[in-house]
């Protein structure tokens, strides 16, 4: 019995190793391991053995079975690979692949999605609002009353009011997504955490770093104890998440009528790595995220009590963020529908 099993094993292994193809292997599998294969038949003989011999021979039979199975499976994988190799050798694999026709999302979309994701992680909700806006929400409610010199920094496109009851100068194209601050706050109560991505408009030249239409994302939070330190932490976290953790940032004081204290955020220019180029006006830094603690007058305009709640607000120049991230030297590339640009993203 023992001898027979060993003989089965030896003959099976040598036949398997000599097999030429998958079919031959399949036949061998049936011949040895099948229900009426040689091994199965031998195992059936086990019961005829004296009791004390059975365990030992049983173990041996199992071992033989495992060996045959392993050898077949190894050989199988070798044969398959070889077959694939032979087929590949018949064709020219250097011919470029036939690609599925899949389109490309715009780089702005990728950046907006990233920004939204980062802020969602901090508990912010996303809102959207009108681009055709009243003077009130765009300026007056933001502590920029009529005739405030600060309005000069946001040269405004006004809408034609012919055939309407609206006075010229009352309706404009929003100069900032901050128009949504009071709109949102007056309809809800703190705590508020929200971002507003969107298009904004200003009278400006069209060149490598300016445009009359550009994208911003406004963000603000109001709660019972929000501080300037929290603002710095948020700006730092968000920009590192979006632009990479190794970016260089610095903060500076500035003035926007709707914040006090006011903050400007600079990022080391990614185009020239801080050496100075036309993109960063030779300063090596790019102004990217104006911010500040919400001015008490704005909180009051929204119906909040500045003694009880505080908040911060910030805006990111999305168009600039896109060009910085992808090292695009010209803002106009973002509105150019050339597929040679689009297909890079």
């Amino acid at each position: 019995m023992e001898e027979e099993l060993i003989q089965i094993k030896n003959s099976a292994v040598s036949l398997i190793l000599d097999a030429k193809d998958k079919k031959e292997l399949d036949d061998l599998k049936i011949r040895f391991l099948g229900r009426s294969g040689r091994l199965s038949l031998a195992i059936k003989e086990l019961s005829k053995l004296p009791k004390e011999k059975r365990p030992e021979i049983g173990r041996l039979a199992n071992e033989v079975k495992n060996t045959i199975e392993e050898t077949i499976s190894e050989k199988e994988s070798r044969v398959t690979k070889q077959m694939s190799q032979e087929l590949k050798e018949k064709i020219d694999t250097t011919i470029p692949g036939i690609r599925p026709l899949i389109g490309h999302l715009h780089p702005m979309t990728y950046v907006i999605y990233d920004v939204v994701d980062v802020f969602k992680g901090l508990g912010y909700q996303v809102a959207d609002g009108p681009e055709i806006e009243t003077d009130y929400y765009n300026f007056t409610a933001l502590n920029m009353p009529p005739n405030a010199p600060s309005r000069d920094t946001q040269a405004t496109l006004y809408l034609d009011t012919r055939n309407s009851k609206v006075k010229p100068g009352e309706i404009l194209l929003r100069t900032q997504t901050s128009n949504m601050q009071v709109r949102i706050m007056e309809k809800t109560k703190p705590p508020v955490r929200v971002i507003v991505p969107g298009k904004t408009y200003r009278v400006d030249d069209v060149n490598a770093s300016h445009s009359f239409e550009f994208w911003q994302v406004e963000g603000f939070m109001v709660d019972t104890s929000v501080s300037l330190k929290d603002l710095f932490g948020t700006l730092d976290y968000v920009l590192r998440k979006i632009m990479g953790e190794n970016i260089k940032l610095k903060f500076a004081t500035t003035n926007f009528p709707f914040v006090e204290p006011g903050v400007d955020t600079y990022i080391e220019c990614t185009v020239c790595k801080g050496k100075g180029c036309t993109f960063c006006k030779m300063t090596g830094w790019s102004e990217i995220m104006p911010a500040g603690m919400i001015h008490p007058n704005v909180l009051k305009a929204a119906g909040y009590d500045p003694r009880k709640v505080s908040g911060f607000a910030f805006a990111i120049g999305l168009s600039r963020l896109v060009t910085l991230r992808y090292e695009m030297e010209d803002l106009r590339l973002l509105t150019n529908p050339d597929i040679r640009i689009l297909e890079q993203f």
């Binding site: 809408l159 009011t161 948020t234 610095k250 204290p261 008490p296 050339d338």
Partner: protein, 626 residues
Amino acid sequence: MLAPLSWLKEYVDVKLSPKNLGERLTEIGLSTEKIIKDGDDIIFEFEITPNRPDLLSILGIAREIAAVENTKIKFPKLSSDLKPQKKLPLKIEANVSINPRFTGIIIDGITVRESPAWLKEKLIKIGQRPINNIVDITNYVMFELGNPIHAFDYKKIKGSLMKVHQAKGGEKFTSVDEITYRLPKGAVIISDSEKIIDLCGIKGELNSGTFENTKTIFIRVPVEVPVLIRKTATSLSLRSEASSIFEKGVNKGGTVDALKRCVELVLKEAGGQIASDLFDIKKEVFSPWKLNLKLERLNKILGISITEGEVLNLLQRLNLTPLKKAKDAVEVTIPTYRNDLKIEEDIIEEVARLYGYNKFPKTIPHGQIPIVQVPYLKDYEMEKKVKNVLIASGFSEIYTYSLISETDLLENGINPNKSLRVDNPVSREFEYLRPSLVPSLKKALLQNKPCFEKINLFELGKVYVGSNINESEEFYSLCAVSNNKNFYEVKGIIERMFEDYGINEEWAKYIQIFDEGVFFELNFSDILSKMNLSKKYKPIPKYPPIIEDLTIEVFEKITVGDIIGEIKKQSPLISQISLLDVFGSSKTFHIVYQDRQKNLTNQEVSKIREKILHALKKKFKAGLKE
């Protein structure tokens, strides 16, 4: 604002290197745009924020440097008295409501000539053109101290009268640089007994300016009303260094010092003698004002604990004269040149900026995450769904301008008179708000034609409709174009997109076929309002379906939609029908019969088939192809 380091050093000791100084000044709010080498000197170019007109002067910048360097400024020494040597007549009819302060003096016997080298050099360094010693001195003192000054030729002031009043509108005014304007109503002006001699706070009149033969001058250092100056300057599109300071708020307490400085320099460089008392007609005393700062609030807003000692020190360096009032309270005194400091938060910023924004720790706010849905909610996940389908179908996304030209409208058959228009467009090319995305996509398609055979583009962006501003409405539009997909392929894409949104509607009406390609445009905001995202799993059938293809001969002009509709009506066991093939008048339909309760038998299916054929014959005179 240009500021030469050499000039700054006259008032403040500078220890920092120009680069470090620039960085520190930027950090505290005086944004350093450029540092330019100019021979032995260094010239800083600063961007001044509108709230800080005091920084439109060298001394103002020196004060900021002194705060950074922790030192004191050296204010120019001024003679204490302005004693007249003689008295020439002058009657001033001031009006403090439109001209809150009118400070002035007469100097007689001067010689107008070219300025001395030191003066010319200083002005040239800050980008000013030297004119003559008198004009240059008034300019110099304005740039030095921040109070604008105008010198009149005293002998040209008829009737020895200066009357401050407002223009009726339409009056002619010729400025010292010989440009003639028509004044807007309300412009603050000075007239003598015959004519207008000054457009206050903006420009002097040519008829009373200082020229070579001027022997006697009247020097005026005013405080103007910001709004009035701004309105007139805006209306005339006429701005000057002076108007830019006045409209932001001049140092109301600084007029006499500026006058003294000016007189001193005139006497020194042009000779002459003081020929009148000091005129100083003013609405009020214009003294420094006080604000209170609570340390607890300061530390709450800033989120750090700055010690009382440090707060006092920082405020002292900013010349805000802090005075400890109570345990937690500090009173500060605001110098008259700091019109921007009005509330406690302003003082908190003063402390924070000099403390150094970059020294703050950075923390993520505590507090409750808002749960209530924000008003104006936008869900980008909805956008992603539709963009995914379009990308997978081969379309690439573009972003185009919302502002388009009249030609763009006309070429697409849109009436410009019924479109929203910008009053002051940056150019004719960007004059109208787009009521549709089709014009932009058409252009994009044409632009890509030379380089690409297969072009598939889409945009998801706002459009703006309405024939006037009262009726204006803006909403998101989804528009796509393909020059290589046929109508049915485009329709299929739309069908697939709206399956995702759970909307069941006939979408063919949104597709347009132009020479350039197949377009579709949808009101995406509308789609979002109709969508139904609730999805529920339906178990897959346990029993196999029976599938058959029927080729139907249709002789009349009957739509496939009608035939499918009719077939479907015949039995609830018909679970799917699609059009497999069309050949001439015969159409092959692929029909799936499915009973969810049991195995269907051929007999049952053949009964339904009979019913279908009967109905098609009756309704459309159509039958099985022989």
